[in-house]
Structure formats: C-alpha cells, structure tokens
Amino acid sequence: MTTTSEPVAEQVQAFLTERTRQTWARDTDLFAVGGVSSMFAMELVVHLESTFDIVIAGPDLALDNFRTVDGMTALVLRLREAEQ
C-alpha cells in the first residue's frame, strides 16, 4: 500500500486540532509560536508511530521533522516507504 501525503497531513492536522483546539496550516512552525511543550513533542512522536505503524528513532527525532505538518508528513511517508 502506498501512502500519499494528503491523508497523512489531514490526519496530523486533525490530531493537532484535537489536542490544541486550534487549526494548523501545513507550513506553520508549531514550535516557533509556543504551542508545543516537551511533553507534547513526545506525544506527537508516539502518535505518529502508533497511527502510521512506524518507528521514529535516532536521527529521525530531529526537531525539523516535527516543526510543521508538512515536515511530519514527509517523515511518515519516508519511514513507511523504507519499511515496505
């Protein structure tokens, strides 16, 4: 099964909306606007792992991968690709 970016991005946006009660454009820097705590960053990691059945470890934990919805989408697609 190949995954395209649109449904992944929508899923990530839905999670962010649920948890922060605000909507996030795909390129908004979550960390720059102070919307994200260290605990929430960990929540994002575990959420992406369990939702998309991937493991995010080592260098993939770099902040740039979690900064925006687009960044997380690209990470998910890359890791899913690598596992297939």
Partner: protein, 373 residues
C-alpha cells in the same frame, strides 16, 4: 515470564538485602549474572538477548524486585533506562551493538544531573564535540548517577551539534573519574556516584543517533522509561511495607488484643493498603499507555511516578509508625523503605517538577478530560 524472572531474583537475593543496605554495596557478580539473564533491562527484545517483556510485565517484575531490595531495583532502573535511551535515540547499528552488550552482563548508568543542572536540565553544561579522526570529546561533570559505581558503560547526556543527545562512554576510558557518593541516605547500595569527564575521547559512533536532537525530546524520551521504573519500584516498596505491617500488627498484642484490632492502627493499615492499590492502578494505566502506543504515555508516566512515589513515602512512614521499635534499625525492610521512598520523590523529576508538568498538561487542554471529550 515475568513471574519466572521475579522468582529467580528472589532466589538470588534471598535474605541478603538488609546486609547490602548496611554495607552500601551489592555483589558485582550478582549484578553481572542478572544482567546476562536480561533481568535488569527486561524490555529489551529477544533479538538483542533480552527477555522481551512488555511494559506491564516488566513493571510487575520491577515491583517484585523493589519489594525485595530498593538498591537492586535502582540498578535495574538505570540499566533499563540506558537500554531504552539506546533504543530510542540510537541508530539501528547502535541498537544491535549496545543492547546486546547490556544483556550480556555489562552494566550501564545514565548521567543527567549536573552541579548546575538538576530540575533545570536545559542548563546542562556537558559537551560532546567532534574531535577529528573519528572521535568525539566529552567534557563535563555529572552528579548522583545511580549505579555508576558498578557501570561498565556510562550513558552521558550533553550538548552536541546545536542540539543534544547521549554518548556511550566506557567507564575505563582515560579522563573518566567516578567518585562515589559516600553515604547516600536511601538506596544505599545502588552505587550512586559523580562523574568527572575531562577531555574524554570516544569513537564518534558512540554518539547516539549521530546528530544533535532537541534536548526536551531527548530528556523526555529517556526519563519516561525511568519514571515508569521508579513508579513500579514504589509499588514494590508499598507491598513490602504492607506485608510487614500486616504481619506485625496481626501478631503483636498490646492491651490484650492484636495491634491491628486498635482503631488508630487500623486506620494506618487502611491508608497503606489504599496507597498500594492507587499506586498500582496508576502504574497499570501508564504501562497500558506504553504498551498500547498511546500518545499520552509520557504524561501518564509522570502521573504514575508522582502518585506512586508520594504513596510510597507516606506508606513507608505509616509502616515505620506501625512497627515502631521493631523496624527502627538500618537494614530492616521498613527502615530501608522509609529512606528509599523519600528519594523516589526526588529522582527522575521531583514531586514539584511532576506537578508543573501535570499542570502544564492540563492547562494545554482545558475543557477536555480524557475519556470524556
């Protein structure tokens, strides 16, 4: 599997925990043996020589060890946290290499705190810098590193390439000094030590992940395992206290009836029992989050650690009161529990830091309570 391993540890520990507490030393060969059996970091997968337990089963094992000996359980927390940090922060190659070493009898300790960075870990001053010729150079000081006295491998957290990560430093590397905390008030045989790292050179492939990662994420990832382990260890403390209190107050008579028949004694027993039950439930909840991949796992681990360590400190205090002079000597299971439990309110995020994290968590989502959106 968890029960088998717990039985094995109980067999090896026997009645020696009191002596270890008084001497301030665990037998090194026992630690190496338990390490090689995969007991000390039992969530490591079988593919790396571990027992492959899930968080719940490892939690029950941790509580069983904690009921016997808080110092041994502390060593277990360190080994497990090192293994988890390697699994989370390391590359595939580093996981294969180092996890196998941690299940082969080598012991590990994890260094976070520094003279100027306790609760405020962002103030960490330890640095890992590229040193050329395939090496990195580690400089800094760490304090209160549990199990460092026994460790073969020191997992040292520090700044790296604009971010942070941990580096695996073999304890015998030139420039490493391990200075034992002379007389810790609790978990006395856990081998707490300070580390002095003076231009320590290690191969660059010992730097977990090989890149600078966000410090809050790095710390939260590693501490989440530590908090789970401490929380389950506190359940063990509570179970040890409950067992000792029930036995003592059921057997000793004063004013013509067993102590437990006196209402004021009964109240302490009830509170101790409820403390054990609540701590267990909080740990079970956090382990279910861990095993189920729930995003809230980091917060649930903070909650479990907060609840269980406070319950353990209060419960151990009750147990001391109930056993009175019978427990008023070092080495006694209740005396150990009393001293050990208080440290559990400090380690892996103090009670106050836990409160701040939980307050921040609830503020971030005012109006939503999990399960009742």
């Amino acid at each position: 599997m968890s029960d088998d391993l717990a039985g094995l540890v109980a067999d090896r520990v026997g009645d020696r925990a009191a002596g270890w507490d008084v001497a301030g030393e665990l037998p090194r060969d026992l630690l190496a043996e338990l390490g090689a059996l995969g007991v000390l970091c039992a969530q490591v997968g079988v593919e790396h020589g571990g027992a492959g337990l899930d968080s719940r089963a490892n939690g029950e094992l941790t509580a069983a060890v904690g009921e016997l000996c808080g110092s041994l359980r502390s060593v277990m927390t360190s080994q497990g946290m090192a293994a988890w940090a390697i699994r989370r922060l390391g590359t595939a190659g580093q996981r294969d290499h180092f996890l196998r070493r941690l299940t082969s009898g080598e012991l590990a300790a994890v260094g976070f705190s520094e003279p100027g960075a306790g609760s405020d870990l962002a103030a960490m001053a330890t640095t890992i810098t590229d040193g050329g010729s395939g090496d990195v150079v580690v400089r800094g000081r760490k304090v209160w590193v549990t199990a460092a006295h026994y460790a073969d491998l020191l997992l040292v957290f520090g700044g790296y390439r604009g971010g942070a990560t941990a580096v695996v430093v073999p304890a015998d590397t030139p420039g490493v000094r391990v200075e034992r905390v002379p007389h810790p008030s609790g978990c006395r045989a856990a081998g707490h030590a300070g580390l002095v790292l003076d231009h320590v050179r290690v191969p660059a492939d010992h730097v977990l992940g090989g890149v600078g990662l966000p410090l809050p994420l790095v710390v939260t990832a590693a501490l989440t395992y530590g908090r789970m382990s401490v929380a389950w260890g506190c359940v063990g403390i509570l179970r040890a206290c409950l067992a000792a209190a029930v036995e003592h107050t059921g057997g000793r008579e004063q004013f013509g009836i067993p102590l437990a028949g006196h209402q004021l004694v009964g109240r302490l027993l009830a509170e101790l029992y409820v403390g054990e039950q609540i701590a267990t439930r909080a740990c079970e909840h956090a382990s279910a989050s861990w095993d189920g991949g729930a995003p809230e796992v980091a917060t649930d681990a903070v909650q479990a650690k907060y609840v269980a360590s406070r319950a353990a400190a209060a419960g151990a205090s009750h147990a001391v009161q109930l056993l009175a002079s019978a427990a008023a000597c070092d080495g006694h299971v209740v005396a150990r529990a009393y001293r050990d439990a208080k440290l559990m309110e400090i380690i892996e995020g103090t009670t106050e830091i836990c409160q701040l994290l939980l307050a921040e968590h609830v503020r971030g989502r005012a109006g939503t309570v999990r399960g009742r959106p």
